[in-house]
Symmetry: C2
Subunit: 514 residues, 2 copies
């Protein structure tokens, strides 16, 4: 690989964390804002989020869930009602205490002591408690159930160590909140949302994920059960890419979500919540990025095809632009992956080669350069972002192809790239999960072997709880490991717990994680 | 009108304010949240916002503006830099002072004194100052201009008196922020955004508006000039429905947005900002609502056609549902107002007549009831929300029409309703603007005449500034009047200023306003 003049300074295999930051900056996706822990999401990063949002919103609506909008501020009393919930969140919330600023007499501003709130308000870290209040108003009878709501919103968790997209004090997400008559229906919804997340991650973002239940110690604060989708990054670490929670009647009791059941008796509703966030963009980068920048899966690429005419500031440019515009219109009339092809004719001044590398770093799936000679031959120079280099000569892997034939096959190429990115990531993921490990010593050995980017290990356990689970968690922590989840499609247990030696009841994945 | 059994308890002409609240509740659009000044936007209200958002976003993108996302928190220092800006906003901002809660030892929670922020953060009331910081990083050369950004976001202004959609402490909006080389280009963008808002209000929301510049005293804090679109509500009051600001170099100087111009000299950029918000939904209600609830313009109706089968919980229901489903599929394949028809087959239990009034109150443009006899005749019972009553007999104005003919003409009907709502509102608006008023006495008389819902008055003025303008503003205030704007399409001045008697320079609209 060292023969190629890669478009980034940092190699993935040299310093994954520095590489990650460089991709974000080189692809112009986001930057630090200067406000503690908050980032600015720039057009290319936000465009990917918008594409994802549109696709996910369609999935959410198709399930009969309706979008609403709830207040950003949550009174303290809401947190006081659900003790385990506040324990989980109280350490990282932004608290509004005043509603006015005044001059400090020295040219600066201070909160006006006269405008202190009687009850401080919390900037939502998640909305179970405030949506619970609304559900308590909306639900009276079993006829009002299921109640299926979702909101797209910003939330704030005061993180001490932040990393763009992966962990920021403010982030964007959707949070689904539903109420049901009983456990079974709520569990069905919890798993429906989980399956929706799996499908979206795999089909839209080309992120292979493993669905499963989180262990007790990793549950959402206040939940009865938490399920997740876990994706493997190229450094072998796990990224929790979405969660779905069965909340039992915990939040219903705290908020008073009661209904008359079919027999006229009063019952508490069973609720669920589920969410995915801008963190997924970090997952896209760390799964599909390479030493030349990002590779955006076509389904969420703001532009799937970028056309770069070699303009010379000469009268001949006009014919070249017309040639490119015909191609643009032809491409925009094609349908790829269920939608019209998104194509940009990049007419900005500047050399085509310079612009090419901009789009390589941004990861546009197809880049098409057109010079006067290409036009004469009725051709274009096509570059697939997923096959950037000619492995024989170390040069960009241009395919000089007839323009009209390219227009015809563009949709098929985009579908192939989408599938290819997924297959590549799945293969790497599968190759990096070690099975058959039967002792904690083997685990220790694996993670102490000096491998720079070790993957995941599947082991069997007896599902200890309470203090016994705490001991396991502590033991894993010495290797910076965590239990990711209990994969739903794992084989049944057939051995002993690697922690306690008791007969195992299930298999778990352990890994380092973001 | 009193013969009809209207679907609301309150008549518009009896108590407009109570009527407004009743529409919101009867159409199930929003409700108070229990959190001071914040509302919950429910699915029907949020669905209208989503429709609007999609259409506006298309307009924004078509102008080459790119969506980004900026932090919700703004450091105090940003406000300190732009004095007139903070004067305008400092009185109504939510201030975050702590980042953690702890137990108060009595079962409650308090902000942790150990977790006090060194510099308090403001929850954005608008984002000029924080986006200015980003622009200062992004702009170096004239080649980086124009810089055209937009964000869809929530903002918070601590309002003392709130009213749902019209004035809430938290609201949703889009805010466009652009930077340019010079005044002319920035002014062009300011007026482009204004024209975009006019087109969206009139074409998408069927709200006729008057575009014009606000007087000096109504400028956005820190702006050189502010333009608005003003809509007339059914109670004759004005609603400022969108604003566009030319900010000169004020914010560029505060944030340091400098660039090298074409001659190599350093210049400050000229910036603009422009926004519309969920307030527009209040405008839709107060323009198109009637004594039976809301009437949603088809372009932004979450459902444009609602089909209500008369289900009897009998085996015959199946054939009826199949008959309705055929119609639903037929309608969904039609294109109205540029998009596939949005149609709901409402299979909820309950009598069709009860459900009919739900949808009347919500304002679905076309309601189609289907009973077994209609089906036998191949017909449906069609109700147009804009022609709800048979004026002869005071009954709902059903049109018993062949099903397939209805499917064919549904798109044309929706287009007719969209146009009809606009024409009706424009006619009322035009009839309620009084022109030719030449003295303040006539103004006083007009607004003291006892008319319950007086409209607007167009007068001529000499465009006083400073203290002279203050005196005019005070004089108008005694009648609760404000200057709305200087209509761009008004006739040139040809008389004297009604305030000072000097030769007039332009015409202004004065009105009571939300």
């Amino acid at each position: 690989m060292s023969n190629f003049r890669h478009a980034l300074n940092t190699r993935r295999d040299a310093d994954f964390s520095a590489w990650y930051q460089e991709v974000i900056s080189a692809a112009d996706m986001a930057e630090e804002s200067g406000v503690r822990g908050c980032m600015v999401i720039k057009p290319w990063g936000y465009g990917i989020w918008e594409r994802f949002q549109r696709l996910m919103d369609d999935r959410i609506k198709a399930a009969g869930v309706q979008n609403c909008y709830f207040p950003i501020f949550i009174p303290l009393a809401n947190f006081e009602r659900e003790a385990s919930h506040v324990d989980g969140f109280a350490k990282e919330m932004a608290v509004v205490t005043h509603h006015r600023l005044i001059s400090d007499g020295k040219g600066g501003l201070i909160p006006d002591p006269e405008a202190k709130l009687e009850e401080p308000l919390v900037v939502r870290p998640t909305s179970e408690t405030i949506i619970g209040d609304a559900m308590a108003r909306w639900v009276q009878s079993w006829r009002d159930l299921p109640l299926l709501t979702n909101q797209w919103a910003n939330v704030v968790r005061w993180e001490m160590r932040t990393r763009m997209f992966l962990r920021t004090s403010e982030f964007l997400w959707q949070e689904g909140h539903t109420a049901h008559e009983n456990r079974d229906q709520a569990m069905e919804e919890t798993l429906r949302a989980l399956e929706m997340y799996r499908a979206s991650a795999e089909e839209d973002l080309a992120l292979p994920v493993i669905t499963g239940e989180k262990p007790e110690n990793e549950r959402f604060p206040g939940a009865v059960g938490t399920w997740s989708i876990e994706a493997m990054m190229q450094d072998g670490k796990a990224l929790q890419a979405g969660t779905s929670h069965y909340l039992g009647t915990n939040f219903a009791k705290a908020a008073g979500i009661k209904y008359q059941d079919r027999d006229g008796a009063e019952q508490f509703a069973h609720t669920t919540s589920w969410g995915v966030s801008t963190r997924l963009i970090g997952g896209i980068i760390m799964t599909h990025g390479d030493d030349d920048g990002l590779r955006v899966p076509p389904k969420v690429a703001p532009y799937q095809v970028v056309i770069l005419p070699m303009l010379r500031d000469q009268p001949e440019d006009e014919a070249l632009l017309a040639y490119c515009e015909e191609m643009r219109a032809g491409l925009a009339a094609q349908v790829a992956l269920g939608e019209p092809v998104r194509v940009l004719l990049d007419k900005r001044p500047g050399k085509a080669a310079g612009k090419r590398w901009d789009w390589v770093r941004k990861g546009a799936p197809l880049i098409v350069e057109v010079g006067p000679r290409d036009m004469e031959g009725g051709k274009v120079a096509l570059l697939r972002r997923d096959r950037l280099w000619n492995m024989d000569n170390g040069k960009p892997n241009f395919d000089f192809t007839p323009r009209d034939a390219f227009v015809e096959k563009a949709a098929a190429l985009l579908e192939e790239i989408q599938r290819g990115l997924f297959d590549e990531a799945r293969k790497r993921r599968d190759e990096n999960i070690v099975r058959g490990v039967t002792s904690m010593e083997q685990v220790s050995e694996f993670y102490s072997s000096g491998a720079k980017y070790p993957g995941w290990i599947e082991v069997q356990w007896a599902k200890p709880t309470g203090a016994a689970l705490d001991a396991v968690v502590e033991q894993l922590k010495t290797h910076k490991l965590t239990i990711r989840n209990v994969p739903m499609d794992a084989q049944p247990a057939d051995g002993n717990c690697i922690f306690t030696g008791e007969p195992a009841v299930e298999r778990i994945l352990i890994a380092r994680a973001y």
